[in-house]
């Protein structure tokens, strides 16, 4: 069996020897270097574009919006975002012109000889400014999208409450910071265009190319090259950069490479949506939630991109993994004149998770109930109903993860020793302040969930496809557009197929994600690859197996054949190798290729009109315990250890799953403590790795990971999603630990020394 085993990563050898080829590693004969000329202002009109007359432009290819054969927009949800600005500029770093030259150096030199003059308008740069609507930059009120989720009667719920507790929480932009910057190469052909590059979603890019150049399906080809991290940042943005490279290649009739340097990548590409989230919670004296009113506002940036979907996930997760009979969630995304925000691991959930977990901390502190007890009183369990009216039918690991995190971390013992440590320090400060290291320790927990797969009707509409073909050697080869971006797609799919058919893991192949060779499996996002596409891959493998067994039944005159460890076996006798039978099948039938499509389990239903029903077929569950040490002189927070327990259904590959959990948890530590963009007039000031700080090995806490496997009956071998869940829990767990250590309730991340200092001046009022 391969499932559940830590088999070696399929493309591991290439990655370890330096042989794996990322987009920057390709050199193609005759290739030009492309560069994007961007707006330097946040809002205004292009008055003129001057090309220095003394410069030799004969060596440079220049393209603007008038060179686009198709329509000038990025093909996503809406059509509002131009590939190249025409006259209006709606955010700094908006692409205006493209140039291509023989070398990067020459392209940069040429760029210095182009001067764009603008007529500037007042930009709208923050959520508050956008809501104030003094300047209207989108629709009639700057609101890009709104959702309302309602259940029960909140007024009645508040009437039943003994206390009403309010809180406001703020979450920042976050940069994905994949270590490989965005990059593509576009290669023009005869009425065709091929784009290869670093990306999560080849079929998004395919759609963009078709529209850009008016191509039919076959004449646009997109190939994913080895991709050095994505985290959502390579979900929608590659459609932009690929369109740019393709437009230059189309005009130049030569291949064009565009690779962003780090500064451009941070300045111009999408970020996690910042937000302001307000909670008003009715709660009984003994800690039961009776009503919850939640208001979410996310900053969408200048164009819609994927904002409606991010907002939707945020709204659906807003209450957290808790039971509450009366709920009203209002969610809005507003426009600002900043670069569009987009997909980033978690996709709206980490934002609301910080808010709902801090609200639980606040409730616990106010009521003087143990925070763990408060979670236990209100947590969703199997059979309970969520804010959208979904009854949780299966695979609910809520209690299991909370118990596992508390036990593994030794939560109560750690809390007790932190309290003793703090008391000793305070005593020592009184006796000999000069000799005392002024530190405090604290332990905090968070509890969270994450819907696996697309939200609502997404998967039902998408009907993701994947296939299996039998190669000339008689091996199974997987055909899927799901990309390997480090998370292990290639390995996990091969494990699923190996066990479904009954062959060795090493005897299963997987095709490169190339739109001319693989069907549209949907994007590699939303914690859907293993659970949704993995399921489709499993169904295709099952059909291949059935076809081969039918064939073998005729050949061997028995229908009772099994495939075990690569052998066809009947009556405990080996009849033939799998490969041999597969080759015989090909000899007779020419080919064996099967495609399967995803369908939700029959009971899963969602209503887009009322925004109610089964928002996701299943949820993954998590609980984090963070241990921190706070320096009370510098207000620096050190995360000493994080213990996390996560229910992801069956772990197809426990080592890779743990790798996802640890990596996502550290990104969330960065979100909670370190990562912050600094803006000036709509431009990012710290767009470099020297001043946008992500965690290094020295910032990384010790991590203990517990995988809980509540199998999901409709996932491949019981698997659910794991990719995003780990991003949800660490920031609130750290903030809770800081609260425990210092009494400072920080309602805004990242918890910088400045914010902690301010928070220390405000204490929670405890109700007797």
């Amino acid at each position: 069996m391969a499932v559940g085993q830590n088999v070696l990563r399929k493309e591991g050898y290439e990655k370890l020897t330096g042989a794996a080829r990322y987009i920057a590693d390709y050199a193609i004969e005759g290739m030009l270097c492309g560069k994007t000329i961007r707006s330097t202002i946040a809002r205004g009109r292009i008055k003129s574009i001057q090309f220095d007359s003394g410069y030799d432009w004969s060596r440079i290819v220049v393209a603007d919006y008038r060179d686009i054969p198709g329509a000038n927009y990025v093909a996503l949800i809406e059509t509002d975002q131009p590939l190249l600005a025409e006259s209006e500029v709606r955010h700094a770093e908006e692409p205006v012109l493209l140039i291509a030259a023989e070398s990067k150096h020459e392209a940069e030199e040429a760029a210095r000889h182009i001067h764009i003059e603008y007529e500037e308008s007042n930009p709208v740069l923050t959520i508050e400014e956008s809501l104030r609507a003094d300047e209207i930059i989108f629709g009639s009120d700057n609101v890009m999208k709104r959702y309302l989720i309602g259940r029960g009667d909140v007024d009645e719920g508040f009437a039943q409450a003994d206390f009403i507790i309010e809180g406001e929480y703020r979450v920042p932009h976050q940069e994905q910071l994949y270590i490989e910057p965005q990059g593509v190469i576009a290669i023009p052909g005869d009425g065709e265009m091929t784009v290869m590059g670093s990306m999560q979603c080849p079929y998004y890019v395919h759609k963009a190319l078709k529209q850009l150049l008016n191509l039919d399906d076959e004449r646009a080809v997109v190939i994913q090259t080895t991709t050095g991290g994505g985290f959502g940042g390579k979900e929608e943005y590659p459609s932009m950069i690929a369109s740019h490279a393709a437009l230059l290649a189309h005009k130049a009739r030569r291949p064009v490479k565009i690779i962003y340097d780090r500064a451009e990548d941070i300045a111009a590409t999408t970020k996690r949506h910042p937000g302001i989230i307000r909670h008003r919670t009715g709660v009984t004296r003994d800690g039961r939630l009776t009503a919850s009113e939640i208001d979410i506002v996310l900053d969408g940036g200048a164009y819609v991109t994927l904002t409606p979907v991010v907002l939707s996930r945020g709204a659906i997760h807003a209450l957290g993994p808790y039971r509450c009979p009366n709920v009203r969630v209002t969610a809005r995304a507003v426009a600002t004149n900043t670069p569009p925000n987009g997909a980033f691991r978690g996709f709206g959930a980490p934002q609301v998770a910080f808010a709902y977990e801090m609200q639980m901390e606040k409730i616990a502190a106010t009521l003087q109930i143990d925070p763990l007890e408060l979670r236990r009183i209100n947590m969703l369990r199997e059979g309970d109903i969520t804010a959208t009216g979904q009854q949780l039918a299966w695979s609910v690991g809520s209690e299991d993860v909370l118990n596992a995190a508390v036990e593994s971390s030794n939560f109560f013992e750690k809390r007790r020793s932190a309290r003793e440590f703090n008391q000793a320090i305070e005593e020592s400060l009184k006796q000999s302040p000069a000799q005392t290291e002024n530190k405090r320790r604290g332990v905090g927990l968070s509890f969270f969930f994450h819907g696996a797969g697309f939200t609502g009707s997404g998967e039902a509409k998408m009907k993701a496809q994947a296939g299996i073909e039998v190669t000339a050697e008689g091996r199974a080869r997987i055909l899927s557009a799901s990309t390997e971006i480090g998370q292990g797609t290639r390995t996990i799919f091969c494990q699923i197929v190996a066990d479904e058919i009954g062959v060795d893991f090493n005897d299963v192949e997987i095709e490169e994600p190339d739109t001319s060779r693989v069907p549209d499996s949907g994007p590699t996002v939303a914690s859907r690859t293993t659970m949704v596409v993995g399921r489709v891959v499993q169904l295709a493998a099952r059909e291949v197996k059935e076809k081969l067994l039918c064939f073998a039944a005729e050949r061997f005159g028995t229908s009772d054949i099994k495939i075990i460890e690569g052998w066809l076996i009947a009556d405990e006798k080996r009849l033939a190798r799998f490969e041999e039978t597969a080759r015989d099948y090909l000899a007779q039938h020419g080919e064996l290729r099967v495609y399967a499509r995803y369908a939700h389990p029959p009971t899963v239903e969602w209503d887009d009109e009322t925004y109610s029903g089964d928002a996701y077929p299943v949820y993954s569950w998590g609980a984090d315990v963070a241990e921190v040490e706070v320096d009370m002189d510098t207000y620096e927070v050190t995360v000493v250890k994080i213990t996390t327990a996560q229910d992801i259904g069956r772990a197809i590959h426990p080592l890779l799953a743990a790798g996802q959990i640890e990596g996502g948890t550290l990104q969330a530590v960065g979100y909670g403590l370190l990562e912050e963009l600094v803006w000036n007039r709509g431009r990012i000031v710290n767009n470099r790795l020297t001043n946008y700080i992500i965690p290094t090995s020295l910032d990384a806490p010790e991590m203990e990971t517990v995988i809980v496997e509540k199998e999901y009956p409709h996932g491949p071998f019981g698997a659910k999603g794991v990719g995003e869940l780990p991003m949800d829990g660490a920031a609130p767990a750290i903030a809770a630990a800081v609260f425990n250590a210092t009494g400072a309730f920080v309602n805004e991340i990242p918890i910088t020394p400045e914010r902690l200092q301010r928070a220390l001046e405000v204490r929670i009022v405890v109700i007797d």
Partner: protein
């Protein structure tokens, strides 16, 4: 300018502008593309190589400064297609995910193990602090380096 150095045991001689970055010479002139560029300013460590026993960021060093030196890049670790213990440990422990930081990580780890055969976890953390990884949370990278140290001792 004529530059001579040894890369992964092979003597190389080339004519190149003296201020060209070692990173570009490796990647463009020698087509050794295993060494990666992540930031171009010495922060991410993806371009780490060993020059005369010391780890350097090859994006910060002009090629004239490595004239006459011995250079080790990721391509020099495996022998005859066989992974060395460090690479094998990264493969087994899950130390590589997207793989883009991996060449630099391997190089930093190799430099550590060359001077400290059995490092503590804290010493390993210190040694790779100049190499950013966004995928792993570093846990499995540290595990891999620990395992490699044990294997090498055997």
């Amino acid at each position: 300018m004529k530059i001579q150095f040894q890369v992964n045991g092979t003597p190389r001689e080339l004519d190149t502008p003296p201020m060209k970055r070692v990173l570009d010479v490796l990647r463009e002139d020698l087509r050794l593309t295993g060494t990666k560029e992540g930031c171009g300013e010495g922060e991410c460590g993806a371009c780490s190589i060993i020059v005369d026993g010391e780890v350097i960021n090859s994006c910060l060093v002009p090629v004239c400064q490595v004239n006459g030196s011995r250079i080790l890049t990721v391509e020099g670790l495996a022998r005859d297609g066989r992974l060395d213990p460090l690479q094998q440990a990264f493969l087994e422990c899950g130390g590589a995910q997207c793989g883009i930081c991996t060449p630099g990580m391997l190089i930093a780890a190799r430099a550590l193990l060359d001077v400290n055969a059995h490092p503590s976890r804290d010493e390993i953390k210190e040694a790779i602090a100049g190499n950013l990884c966004r995928c792993t949370g570093y846990v499995k990278i540290i595990d891999a380096i620990e395992q490699a140290a044990k294997t090498r001792l055997r």
